[in-house]
Assembly symmetry: C2
Homo-oligomer: 477 residues x 2
């Protein structure tokens, strides 16, 4: 009985498991903490290490791209099938700060394999999930007998993701020609649970900023003047309170215009995920669920837009009391957006809404932190998503379910600048301890990720030949 | 043609004007700043100076009363008319901080007479208004030919009013026997304007404290959890916003129960005061008037209860943004109360109202800063008030109008502990610069005050003989 491609992939991976883990450990030993300025040499060392490893894997092109901050790594390996699609894999090689003193069981930069897990800062976020592609690609070539990948492959691995990707947009705009592709695969997310492989289909967008209200020119006596002049603390509170109606829907007129609602199938699929709300609340350090009426917690954090207040500050805040009417109030706000919403439109709606709600005698300023981050969403029937689900299904031998990501990230920049759909291939699980102590990756899942990557290029190339992919959503002008 | 009592008073005052001002200047040179701990010796010196001056005036009893803070001065001079009422005069001998460097035209503790004004820290607040009684009393005796005052006179001049009177309540509770009286006259307020002599008829009460809301156990990520768990900043804002309805009335059920409404006569008298709202707004450093619908600015600050927020603090307040759901929120609040409202009842109503409005998952604490200060109000037809108005009318030769005080003060403690109606005799005007630079007193008005004080004991004793005074309001049990 001849071996199947799946068998061949598994055999190859098993045979190369030990040196792969040794190489990954070597990379994890480089403390590439982007938040710490004196780690700049480590960031460079990490980038150079990765570029060398990609060359070693077979990439004809592997370059360290400097930025105004930490360097990124770019690599390219064209398929000998000229008609194949071009796929860009995104990840990052910087890591969160970590120190033994934070409560780690051992040196966070000395990887330890124990009980089927690899412990180290960056094991899951994101070096492990970037590095799985090297073995995946070798297995892909070995199992298919190819000398080049089945797709034109590009890698972009940035060095500032843990610091908010401050130079990423500039980088991809400047290098857009070399980054041109047909789809981008973000290799920096997770799945639902150890026993529930999932694919993330989108991230929410973000519009954030602050409103500053000015009332009296200085703090004034509340006994002499209070109740007869506007109080900016009260006005800030009325503004924030008015953001939501009694159903906890965002009450800004037009806010929901264009929102892509969940389909019946999506709602059903979400509802089928085994969701333990009590456990989720423990993770959220919260004591009750509360949100838009008519939607479940998962719908609220993944598929519904929100308005949140991140801070309010006005007047006296010291011990005891001080009978003043404060001079000013500051509100920090953030909106999460979903597919169909436009960042600029939300900024406009909010700006107008605030201006209409303030009484005479209260001057205000609104500042937004940049133009915002757009939401991204890949429809469940997108052919590239189907390819990814098929590859993952081959690796996991289980039905692949769907999640979304409530946060916002550079995926939207890839979508917008490169004009391509974004897919998410992640094998990390919530217990992996991202940004926390004792970060780890489950080795079983890491190698399922390797296996998925080995199948993915074959499946994408095959599905691509069946017909062109729908265009990615473009930013509103 | 024989001289009238009014002529005699004026003659006496003119004759003793120069030494009176020299004595006052000597007292003003003592920098009795209660807020500055190293001024404690000056506070004692100031108290001893005043006790000596009162003895010099004729008081058989003049004592320095120590407290846990700065000392007070007590003096007593019984009338030879045993049936006369007992009157307690209240004032304070401590002053606000002052330094040449703050922008004074000269040393704030070196009094200067210029253009009919006496400039010095404490000239109006409150040494000038306390000391006017010494010459007033001498003129009273000289013009009536009496050897004792027409009423049993007591003086209580505290030393910590500018520091919030922290030991005043304790002092008057402990010394209630010696302070027993039929009415208290607060000599620490002002009148409407240079050309509009007025009597203040009440002060508002105060209930203040803080509400602390607890949401998530720590700040959490707004992308991952926002919109699905309660946000204490939002809940604090909803609470504050709900304090007022769209008419800017306090929306706590029962809050207005028992409020003594302005009579038609009082509203008319208020409306007749020449009020320049634009000028008032400049004093308030505010850019518009806003308050309870259906009431004028003066009604709002004098005769209507209010709810004010003195501070709100929650979440991130630094530069830029931070996408969190805050863990907690603090609201500092103060209610001003008017006659008919009870401090304990308002505390109960607010406590219940807050508890009912918070969603599951938000725990809260309410703290009040003590039991609150009760409002005090003397009805326009109270016989003692009529005596004061008559005495003042004799001095000023003009119709005396009525004001109230929006703030809250120790007057309420006198009312509550001693169980007497409180009257306000003040000759200071808004331009006197209380708590500000270049504090002064208008000498014309100061001597009208002396003249009022000279008539007041005669008028009070005469009116007292016409019948007993109504009881003072008592605190609710």
């Amino acid at each position: 009985m001849s071996s199947t491609p799946d068998d061949d992939v598994q055999t190859y991976i098993r045979a190369h498991r030990t040196p792969f883990l040794a190489d990954l450990a070597e990379w994890l030993r480089i403390p590439s903490v982007s938040a710490e300025p004196d780690r700049a040499p480590d960031l460079l060392r990490s980038a150079e290490w990765l570029a060398a490893a990609l060359k070693e894997t077979g990439f004809p092109v592997a370059e360290v791209w400097p930025t105004k901050g930490a360097p990124a790594v770019f690599a390219e390996w064209r398929s000998d099938d000229e008609d194949a699609p071009t796929v860009l894999v995104y990840g990052h090689h910087d890591v969160q700060p970590a120190a033994l003193a934070d409560g780690w069981d051992g040196d966070p930069f000395e990887p330890v394999e124990r009980d089927g897990r690899l412990y180290a800062r960056g094991a899951a976020d994101d070096k492990g999930q970037v590095f799985l592609h090297t073995l995946g690609l070798r297995a892909h070539l070995a199992a298919t007998g190819r000398t080049t990948p089945a797709v034109h492959l590009k890698f972009l691995v940035e060095g500032e993701e843990e610091s908010g990707s401050p130079h990423f947009l500039e980088l991809i705009r400047e290098r857009a020609d070399r980054l041109a592709c047909d789809t981008a695969i973000v290799s920096d997310t997770g799945m639902w649970a150890e026993d529930t492989p999932t694919v993330c289909t989108g991230m929410r967008g973000l519009v954030d900023g602050e409103v500053v209200l000015h009332g009296p020119d200085q703090d004034i006596h509340s006994g002499s003047f209070g109740g007869a002049v506007p109080n900016p603390a009260t006005e800030a509170a009325r503004l924030v309170a008015a953001l939501h109606d009694d159903d906890r829907r965002v009450a800004i007129p037009g806010f929901y215009d264009g929102v892509v609602e969940l389909t019946e199938r999506e709602r059903r699929l979400l509802a089928e995920l085994r969701f333990d709300e009590a456990a989720w609340l423990r993770t959220a350090k919260s004591h009750a669920a509360l949100g838009e009426r008519g939607h479940s917690t998962l719908e609220r954090i993944w598929a519904r837009p929100t308005a949140e207040v991140n801070g309010i500050h006005s007047g006296y805040g010291g011990p005891g009391g001080k009978t003043i009417v404060p001079s000013r109030a500051e509100v920090k706000f953030s909106f999460r957006l979903v597919a169909g919403q436009d960042t600029a439109a939300v900024q406009r709606l909010f700006t107008d809404w605030v201006a209409e709600r303030l009484p005479d005698g209260v001057r205000h300023e609104i500042r937004f932190w940049g133009g915002g981050t757009r939401p991204c969403l890949t429809p469940l029937d997108h052919p590239a998503l189907r390819s990814l689900v098929r590859a993952m299904g081959r690796a996991f031998g289980q039905e692949i379910r769907f999640t979304r990501e409530g946060g916002s990230g550079p995926a939207a920049d890839l979508q917008d600048v490169l004009g391509v759909p974004v897919l998410f291939l992640g094998i990390s699980v919530p217990s992996d301890g991202w940004h926390s102590v004792n970060e780890k990756v489950e080795l079983d899942l890491l190698f399922k990720g390797v296996e998925t990557a080995a199948h993915l290029w074959t499946d994408l190339a095959e599905d691509w030949r069946a017909g062109p992919w729908p265009a990615a959503p473009r930013p509103a002008s």
